[in-house]
């Protein structure tokens, strides 16, 4: 192939005046510099063909991306401020709104921070129920992201399949918690209500079904030559870069870092179950996707173990005795919590006040590490400050950096491969 020579044409283009009024977070003079040189500044979004809204300001040379500057915040709703003005218990629905498909993981992190502050020991059964539902949400979120990835790739079948399977996850949440998506099921000290055996049977069957159908989905979409061609070797990040940009979750594991909060700092029932941390080495878009596809299988195995364990346990005792404020048990008897929060909700949680201090918990949400910091002053019954760092917000930097050197046409594929969900990132 002969060497191609570059010619720059001095085209007298003026950046449009409206750019000023958009107040973009770009270095001053970016558009002028670009139009004077050989580059173009492209604006992608906030309305674009996929899910969720953010603006990407892309500097391209030819059709190779030189730099991407994010303009997030189109779904910023001020969760952190609102949390300061609500009771601790009222914040549970609030903190799960950023990523409602992943609701149990999101409320779990927040609730565990409260439990850490008040030194609450969660009953065994509640622990297993929480773990089980957290994994169901993880499956649901991974399917959601797979669906959105296919929308980005223009693959309609790949959208229909995972969403049909997600329907089962919604059904499980509905049977357990009463809502298809926003469960608000985890409460300090346990869960809201018990899961009976017929529901457990249903969960077992649903996961078996998902397991079988996920195999078909792999054949149709995951190992589809088109998918592979669009994702393989696109936007790869090395292990070193991934660490430098502070990427989280499955995207970090796709770069070869074996970090999963469930394994490094196990919470709830995770240390009593057997499962593997899925790691890949390539760090490209395809392995970012594959890691999540394989995690679905691990989650299914975790759920099945939980179902088995729950069936062997006696029913009831799902809210900790520590918070139920029960008197000391009789001698020789174990302190027993409540079987349901029904009727006791306001008594238990209405006046919740945490001791003064700072409490930080890490949770492995579907898209990565989720951090909650509650700062309490010891007197108010609302958090003095709640810091929420969502996975999306953490890997945004890596997402932007990984795009450097890609083609413009790959931008959507990379967006999908990160499963970037703006409400989650912006909070």
């Amino acid at each position: 192939m002969s060497e191609m020579k570059e010619y720059s044409l001095p085209v007298p283009v003026k950046p449009p005046a409206e750019i000023e009024s958009l107040e973009l977070p770009v270095p001053p003079g970016l558009d002028e510099k670009a139009t004077k040189g050989d580059e173009i500044v492209l604006f992608v979004g906030p309305q674009h063909g996929g899910s969720g809204h953010m603006r990407l300001i892309v500097r391209v040379h030819g059709d190779v991306i030189r730099e991407v500057i994010p303009d997030p915040g189109f779904v910023h709703r001020g969760v952190e401020k609102l949390a300061e003005n609500k009771l601790y218990i009222q914040n549970i629905p609030l903190v799960e709104r950023p990523a409602i498909m992943d609701c149990v993981n999101f409320s779990l992190g927040y609730v565990r921070a409260i439990e850490q502050a008040m030194d609450i020991e969660v009953p065994e059964r509640a622990k297993y129920i929480r773990t089980m539902l957290a994994e169901i949400c993880r499956i649901g979120t991974h399917f959601y992201d797979a669906g959105i990835l296919s929308v980005f790739l223009g693959h309609t079948t790949g959208f229909m399949w995972p969403f049909a399977l997600r329907e089962l996850a919604c059904e499980v949440l509905m049977r357990v918690a009463g809502a298809r998506i926003t469960a608000s099921y985890v409460v300090p000290g346990g869960v809201r209500r018990d899961v009976d055996n017929s529901t457990l049977n249903y969960i077992y069957e649903a996961t078996t079904y998902i397991q079988r159908k996920a195999k078909d989905f792999e054949r149709i979409f995951v190992r589809n030559p088109v998918t592979i061609a669009r994702l393989k070797d696109v936007a790869a990040l090395s292990k070193k870069e991934a660490i430098k940009y502070g990427i989280v979750g499955p995207f970090l594991r796709a770069c070869g870092v074996e970090y999963d909060v469930r394994a490094v700092e196990p919470y709830d029932a995770y240390d009593e179950l057997t499962w593997d941390v899925i790691v890949a080495d390539e760090g490209d878009s395809y392995s970012r996707f594959l890691v999540r596809v394989n995690e679905i299988q691990q989650s299914i195995s975790i759920i099945k173990q939980c179902v088995k364990a729950l069936k062997d346990m006696p029913q009831g005792n799902i809210v900790s005795a520590d918070i139920a404020g029960k008197k000391k048990a009789k001698e020789g008897e174990e302190k027993r919590g409540l079987d349901t929060v029904k009727g006791a909700f306001f008594r238990l949680f209405g006046r919740l006040t945490l001791p003064a201090g700072e409490y930080t918990t890490l949770t492995e949400a579907a898209r990565g590490t989720l951090l909650y910091t509650i700062v309490s002053d010891g007197k108010s019954n609302a958090p003095y400050r709640l810091r929420v760092v969502t996975p999306g917000w953490c890997y945004l930097k890596g997402f932007m950096e990984s795009l450097k050197g890609c083609r413009v046409a790959d931008l959507q594929a990379v967006y999908g491969s990160f499963g970037y969900f703006p409400p989650e990132a912006d909070r």
Binding site: R166, I181, D377
Partner: protein, 361 residues
């Protein structure tokens, strides 16, 4: 103001071609991809194989130029409002708007947030669907209602609520004074923010604390819980502590946090770091904090040590107005709309809930 909704319907019902126009519009309500918030999850379900809204001739499609329906999913933030309006304006006539989710109606869970607008003030809405999020059936029934509206040429509400006699319920007719219930929220007047050492049974941590104490004698190092170490320092040593931690193997920032202590006129800037490359340090979070003056909040940026601090510093700059010296992007709004100033400071007050039932304003 013109009634755009009525005009659209009128247009469809006029002329000799009216039946064709109506039929065409009714069965091709294509919604633009404008997944504005979390309600979008249920929208996706409605259009996926479970509910298959395409049966009724409605389809989610990429570009506004080729579509005639906006389904506003929940919250519209101040930043998004403009995009919503532009999208709507670029759509060809006749066009329709369905608004789903409690957030879109009166703000829902986020009603008093500093970053929320009411979308019905921005675009003319045809149908509202309440719920948080509404079920896919709810959305589909709104599409069906819209189709019926096109067909009939007039709008009908799908639910009739009984009018309540407020005066009777509230007992205002007798001239009685009403006592609102006490709000359950109690916020301390002069809150004390103290983070204190806690002895924990954590051998590795205690060793690490000793090691750090040797390395940074000018700062206070202690454990606050298992896997949590806290370092109190000041703005002068803030960066030095960061460098010391980096050489220990802490390689990324987990969170940057600012706590506003209004009555003591100070900010506490906290940075939490952890490690991906050293296995023993993986579960450990070290938080180092510095107190700075609230009137001149400046602190060195850590972006040259940990690049992962960048966006969070810019976020904190938006929220509190803290200036991170050395971060090249200071002074620009990043996450929030330009018109909102330092919303997370404690003196930025949100509207408070009212515990009295009032006649709607």
């Amino acid at each position: 103001m013109k009634d755009v909704n009525a005009e659209n319907i009128e247009f469809l019902g006029s002329g000799a071609l009216a039946p064709v126009k109506k039929w065409g519009a009714k069965w091709s309500l294509w919604a633009v991809h404008l997944v504005t918030s979390c309600c979008g999850v249920e929208l996706a379900h409605a259009y996926a194989s479970g509910y298959d809204a395409e049966r009724w001739g409605t389809l989610n499609f990429g570009m506004m130029r080729q579509t005639n329906l906006i389904i506003v999913e929940g919250t519209i933030t101040k930043k998004m409002a403009r995009a919503l309006r532009i999208t709507w304006e670029q759509m060809p006539d006749p066009k329709f708007v369905i608004l789903i989710g409690a957030c879109g109606i009166e703000g829902g869970l986020f009603w008093n947030s500093y970053h929320i607008t009411r979308p019905w003030k921005i675009v003319p809405v045809d149908y509202f669907v309440p719920g948080c999020p509404p079920t896919p059936e709810g959305l589909i029934s709104a599409v069906r209602a819209l189709q019926k509206k096109i067909e009939r040429g007039e709008a009908r509400t799908t639910v009739d609520f009984k009018e309540a006699d407020l005066a009777k319920i509230l007992g205002t007719e007798a001239g009685k004074e009403r006592k609102p219930p006490k709000p359950p929220l109690k916020i301390a007047e002069k809150p004390e923010i103290k983070i204190e050492p806690k002895e924990v049974d954590w051998e590795f941590g205690n060793q690490l604390v000793d090691k750090l104490r040797g390395k940074i004698p000018y700062a206070e190092v202690f454990t606050t819980n298992v896997n949590r170490i806290y370092i109190k320092t000041n703005a002068k040593f803030y960066k030095k502590v960061a460098k010391a931690l980096e050489s220990e193997g802490f390689d990324h920032v987990k969170s940057i946090n600012v706590i506003d202590v209004l009555h003591e006129n100070k900010f506490i800037v906290e940075c939490s770091v952890s490690s991906y490359s050293v296995k023993e340090l993986m579960p450990v979070i070290v938080t180092f904090a510095a107190e700075i003056d609230r009137n001149n909040p400046r602190i060195p940026s850590l972006t040259d040590i940990w690049l992962s601090a960048d966006y969070q510093e810019r976020e904190m700059h938006d929220f509190f107005g803290v200036w991170f010296e050395g971060n090249p992007n200071m002074g620009q709004k990043f996450l929030i709309a330009p018109e909102v100033e330092t919303p997370l400071r404690k003196d930025f007050k949100l509207e408070e809930p009212s515990y009295v039932l009032e006649e709607s304003k």
